[in-house]
């Protein structure tokens, strides 16, 4: 219900409905919290632990137990306070960002981060974890800085050297001419989704301000944002969300209302969207497959400037240092996460004051991307909603997803053979089946790291991801 409510808010509801809706959502979330933290729930968990359990039942108990402990970890007063403070901070941010107004949001953010640190300490105590690890575990259970730090350092080392080389060698794309009608873009998107295995009998595509995916195995929905001047941002968002949606549509349907019937974590979820978007849809073979479809739906008859497969490939592969994470290309995107991860850890440990975020942001951006963000808060530390809405420990999932996707791609090829020719023909069946069986249908049977290890036969590592970037961008 909360998932549906969120979808409705982003696609159909008029803004005037929001305050009342927010209250209903808070009441509903409060009821859920009360149920999950109840003694009755604890008794059910204890009774189930004494039973003979199948592996999936065992997983169900594991995830339910985590949810129960998590609900009890945070004192009711602190939880209530956090919702108020986060909501207040988010609203202030919404208004302050367009005005580049850091000073008005600063006190609210200080309050919000103070609360987040308190919560991280409660969670750390309950789960006997470092506080920041405990925050990350809310989104990807089991993940720890001990393993993330090394992988992220490897990626940084590679990129700092590789990006300038790629930039020097690449040729800039020309804008593909045209004014692209919403209906044409949506028709193309739906055809692509179908080709990629999205089941429209159990899902929908709609428009919203920011692309997202939601739902369950019986009803998976994605959205995209359309621009009449640029079709490719929207199209690749559709590919990305289709990866999420296929994960959702292939969840074990007999477990749909149970804890274990949910995707195991947000890094694994992101691995599925990035597998689709980056591993499959930005590959040479896929671009060759999809380009004629794009031409058929969107190429103007008068001005065809920029309309060639080569230029299309250059456009969707162009490496371009920018300030904004969500607009970043595949090569520079990781820098944006490395920056946020570093700052979150420092904030959480009290090694960075909230007021010093802009300076720290600028230093990282200068060191990694060589861009200057001084004074530009709205495209700097005010660009993402996450911190202002109380989301701490989420950012690493984006890059972990890219790492997992590359590991899975290697394992997939190893298992079912090179798929380049099939992708070129528009046949994604072998890949789809392999992912559905090995990842999607597993639900929360295993935690993410264990799942990746079990499917790939290798430890979690950035090696495959770095090889992938090297192959696509450096050796190309």
């Amino acid at each position: 219900m909360l998932d549906l409510s969120n979808w409705d808010e982003s696609t159909n509801m008029k803004p005037a409905g929001m305050p009342n809706r927010a209250e209903v959502v808070a009441l509903t979330a409060g009821l859920r919290q009360k149920l999950i933290s109840s003694e009755e729930f604890a008794d059910l968990l204890a009774a189930a632990a004494d039973e003979e359990l199948t592996p999936m039942q065992h997983a169900n108990l594991r995830v339910a137990g985590y949810a129960h402990k998590n609900a009890l970890a945070i004192p009711a007063d602190l939880l209530k306070e956090s919702k108020r403070v986060y909501s207040d901070c988010e609203v202030t941010w919404q208004q302050a960002r367009p005005n580049n107004d850091w000073s008005s949001v600063l006190p609210k953010l200080e309050h919000a981060i103070g609360i987040a640190i308190q919560i991280s300490q409660c969670l750390g105590e309950t789960f006997d974890l470092d506080p920041y690890d405990a925050l990350m575990n809310q989104y990807e259970p089991g993940i720890q800085q001990a393993s993330v730090d090394g992988m992220f350092a490897d990626i940084r080392e590679f990129l700092v050297n590789a990006v300038p080389k790629v930039e020097a060698a690449q040729q800039a794309p020309t804008r593909m001419a045209g004014i692209f009608k919403a209906d044409d873009q949506l028709a193309l998107a739906e055809i692509c989704m179908q080709e990629l295995g999205f089941d429209f009998g159990r899902g929908r595509l709609d428009q919203s301000a920011h692309p997202f995916s939601c739902g369950n195995a019986f009803d998976a929905r994605i959205t995209t944002r359309l621009s009449q001047d640029d079709f490719s941002e929207s199209l690749f968002a559709v590919f990305h969300e289709t990866g999420h949606a296929r994960y959702t549509q292939n969840q074990p349907s007999e477990w749909v209302l149970q804890f274990a019937g949910e995707p195991t974590g947000m890094a694994v979820h992101e691995s599925q969207s990035l597998f689709m978007e980056m591993q499959v849809c930005r590959s040479d073979a896929f671009l060759e497959f999809v380009y004629p479809l794009v031409e058929e739906h969107l190429r103007p008859t008068d001005d065809t400037t920029g309309w060639s497969l080569d230029n299309f490939r250059r456009a969707v592969r162009f490496v371009n240092r920018g300030l904004i994470r969500v607009y970043a290309d595949e090569m520079t995107y990781p820098f944006h996460i490395l920056l946020r991860y570093a700052l979150e850890k420092q904030l959480c440990k009290g090694e960075l004051a909230v007021k010093d975020i802009p300076d720290a942001w600028n230093l990282h951006m200068r060191d990694m991307l060589g861009v200057d963000t001084r004074g530009n808060y709205q495209d700097g530390c005010m660009q993402d909603i996450h911190w202002f809405a109380g989301l701490f420990g989420y950012f690493p999932c984006y890059l972990l997803g890219a790492i997992f996707a590359a590991q899975l791609q290697e394992a997939c090829i190893h298992k079912i053979g090179e798929q380049t020719e099939r992708i070129r023909q528009g046949d994604f069946s072998a890949i789809s089946t392999w992912l559905a069986e090995n990842i999607h249908a597993q639900g929360s049977l295993m935690e993410g790291e264990q799942l990746i290890q079990s499917v790939t036969g290798s430890e979690m590592s950035a090696r495959s991801y770095i090889s992938h970037l090297k192959r696509r961008y450096v050796d190309a």
Copy 2:
């Protein structure tokens, strides 16, 4: 949330999502039932009763108290069983109706009506009411056969004489030529809704298989069903649902999540849709106002057969005895309700066996409308979902709504003067304000009968309604 879920099922969700959605809805409804019937809830009610209360707080306590007693009246096992049996019966009906297959749904309906009778007895005992009165009270609190019987008998007596006279005097309309595009019909509908005071900043219009309205003061939504061959059925459905939606949009917003902030009953709700559809939108003045708009949006350029204001008026006023309630005209519609009301009472008292419904149906249809329904179950006793879904005691609300609407219309004219000229100019402001203040903004401050009495200064009576029909159809 349940309201939103229902809207989503009818407008957006693919059928494959239904089984899982139904389970989520059942779980949510169960949680609500548990909360409302809890001792904690009872204690809160008792504590509030000792306070100094404003009239609205007092009403809130009244409605909450009714909900609490209602939730306790039905044993949990019986309630659970009823949901299973009603759902099973409804599914069987869905499949059996297109095949005119009465015999396969009969045992399920016997089971469903048996359960409904048990529930009516539980409710009757709890509220110290006749069981059928207790059923009606679930939809329109306070209403009783003692007053309904007399009004319905008056209506029957009038109509049995009047309908043949009207039929003899009227002229049949010609079909208005055209194939009407969905976009054109929706554009016209939205303009009309705006004219009638629907606030699109707090609501939406969508399409669904059956028109309905839902939502709250901050987010009111209506739907319509479009046909490319006939625009007027859809357009008048939009007028009808706009009446509901204006009631919803004008509820007291500071009470939005409270019991007293809800419309007071379904008969009053129906009075608002019928005030709009019948009193306002089928009036001569409104038809004169709206006809140019209809022409502008829908009149074909080639064949304009039937396109005149006179013919349009004839079409939306034509009295035509038919088998189907939802397609009935204003004059014959009441017969359909009188029939169902009579049968429900007999079924509830055990004076009619379920297997004898088709014969009883045919007798009533023959006596009142002179039509033969023998052997035609799908357009006879199988036409409405209500009984098959366990809805007993609801039907009278439709006709009570028409009665209330006519009483309100008289009171409104008495208070603010004749509005004919203003309606002809498209100025509905005085009527809108009067209804908003006197009915909509009252929420559940009073029960329906009391509200009508307080606003009109008269007892509930069919007199105004009969005068209205006489004026429009007999004296015309």
